[in-house]
Symmetry: C2
Subunit: 392 residues, 2 copies
Amino acid sequence: MKKLAREVAVIGIGQTKFGEHWDLSFRELGIQAGIKAILDAGIDSKRIDALFIGNMSAGQFLGQEHIASMIAEEVGLTSNQIPATRVEAADASGALAFRQGLLDIASGLHEVVVVGGAEKMSDVTSDIAAGFIAAGADQAWEALFGATLPALYAIMARRHMKEYGTTMEQLAAVSVKNHRHGKMNPFAQYQSEISLETVLKAPRVAEPLGLFDCAPISDGAAALVLCEMELAKEICPCPVRIAGTGQGSDALAITNRPSITEMRATKKASERAYERAGITPKEVDVAEVHDSFSIGEIMAIEDLGFFEKGDGGPATERNDTTFGGVIPVNTSGGLKARGHPLGATGIAQINEIVLQLRRKAEGRQVKDARVGLAHSVGGTGGTSVVHILEVV
Amino acid sequence: MKKLAREVAVIGIGQTKFGEHWDLSFRELGIQAGIKAILDAGIDSKRIDALFIGNMSAGQFLGQEHIASMIAEEVGLTSNQIPATRVEAADASGALAFRQGLLDIASGLHEVVVVGGAEKMSDVTSDIAAGFIAAGADQAWEALFGATLPALYAIMARRHMKEYGTTMEQLAAVSVKNHRHGKMNPFAQYQSEISLETVLKAPRVAEPLGLFDCAPISDGAAALVLCEMELAKEICPCPVRIAGTGQGSDALAITNRPSITEMRATKKASERAYERAGITPKEVDVAEVHDSFSIGEIMAIEDLGFFEKGDGGPATERNDTTFGGVIPVNTSGGLKARGHPLGATGIAQINEIVLQLRRKAEGRQVKDARVGLAHSVGGTGGTSVVHILEVV
């Protein structure tokens, strides 16, 4: 595998609190996150060469496309007409914006790039939002017939239970853990613990998935500043190296996949990222994975190679995925507790990994974290993106 | 200005006929264009490493986001889960997909990439389409108050007429020329000439712009195969070099710009592209520019440096922008006659330039064309993208 032409580092992070921001517009969320990241990087905004924004569906939610230029203007970056590009792959959009920023610098085109992700979901009612989110599944073969994202993940969960004996308690254990983690994250939408009983007794959204198996509807934005590595070492006290990138695609409709208890896109994306970083799953110290539904995290920790297929549920019950376990997963609270503003999620995950590798995660710090992984899924697995970051 | 780490060439082109395709779905349009480009490149599809798709708004038009993976699947490219990414900046989306494909290869990540653009607009009525298209302008400050794209371009046209004396006849001359060119393009939506009188007497859409000053609503798709230059020379008899890329952004709302008779985004994008290619506007032999409205072409040929500010209208009247003139512009028929399926347009423009540089444009061939330029605008100029291509 050929190396990228240049190495790239993360030198700044920022995000808004995730939640229901009735008082903030999409623009304002973008500004907050962008400015925080630029201030964190400690650079003059004149040094910024380009902007990439991940956003799933401002077109449906707000009737506004073309949002990258809009955010560039709001953050004050149009003075030099810098390039601003939106990238979209359902709720993997943020992760892909990050990847495009990486390639932009690696290609030699630019030195400093801001990548961000944002979504404003609470301006419509939740039933309407559910329809918009289903646009990340296959409209013609799934959504048109009433299949929502929870329904599709419920089918995957049922099959996982049948094939591997995964239990309702194991699914619930994912959400209980992520709420416990989220309690320590000041930017999380939910900063409160929930009990196993609460999760199990909650109303069902789509059997076997209940209310607490599903990530919430959220508003929020997150941003990162990327920089060519040599320059990063000069201007940043703690650059974090982007060691590996991997992306994979699969059929949008789950019926067109050979298996629905694994995500081929995730397996291939992680394979590519591990190879590029020159590491194995065992070397990952901390991971943020895509738990839009509890079954999603169980499948992810298997498909990423942290646990054997079928052992995702038991591993979660054994506390292997929390602090002191085999690999702490979703220390930020994950999509479930941190919140899931679709386009922002992939960037927020990398925010958390960078914080961990800087050893600045305070109460939720993973001891001696040197290698972190972020995993983002679009829809039910039509896209998967994996990035590996390392302490320099 | 630093060179890109690797050079990239176009080795395959393909597009559907543009028009109202009642009998073809978005998927089918994507397949047609993609397969044509792959066949034209003469490569085994197994060699394709990644896919980038430009699309403005399948979310609004079809309730379908996440379309890059969908197209990858339909074209049969998910067997190895290749990365598939959608890029969006209103009707500059195709041009930006092309740019991401270029950076992907230049960075060293991949060797062969397919870039495409597609839009299916005719499944809704034209008033609804007009609202969706207005999502490329500023929703909160323009579209919400009823401003459509024709209305905003009409304001720019009025100002251009006042400042530079541009006439209705000069605006009309753009459309007359582009229809004359389109007549020679078998993929054009309109392959018929129109008279100056027809244009001038047509019903007004937004004064001073009439029906024939506006590009139509279209369905269509276009695709290109990009390849690392050394490999391209081995496998392709006529690779076309991507010599320059430039992108610029500006405020979405025209009220937030210092001037509305020029596009700062275009000026900056072309400046960047010329510098990267090491050429001046005089060296360009053929250009495809963004004439979503007739005034758009007049501003473009000024902002790109082909003519002095204010001389765009007179130059068109002098036949400087047709065959045998100073620089033939929109030999394909442009957005006006070829059609304007938003996300596909930026790719179709490059299709035309490659055809010209291969000297395969038949009746509309520009003699001895060695350098071509493609210029794409998002909305009213919030984004502009310029690419320069050269015979190897």
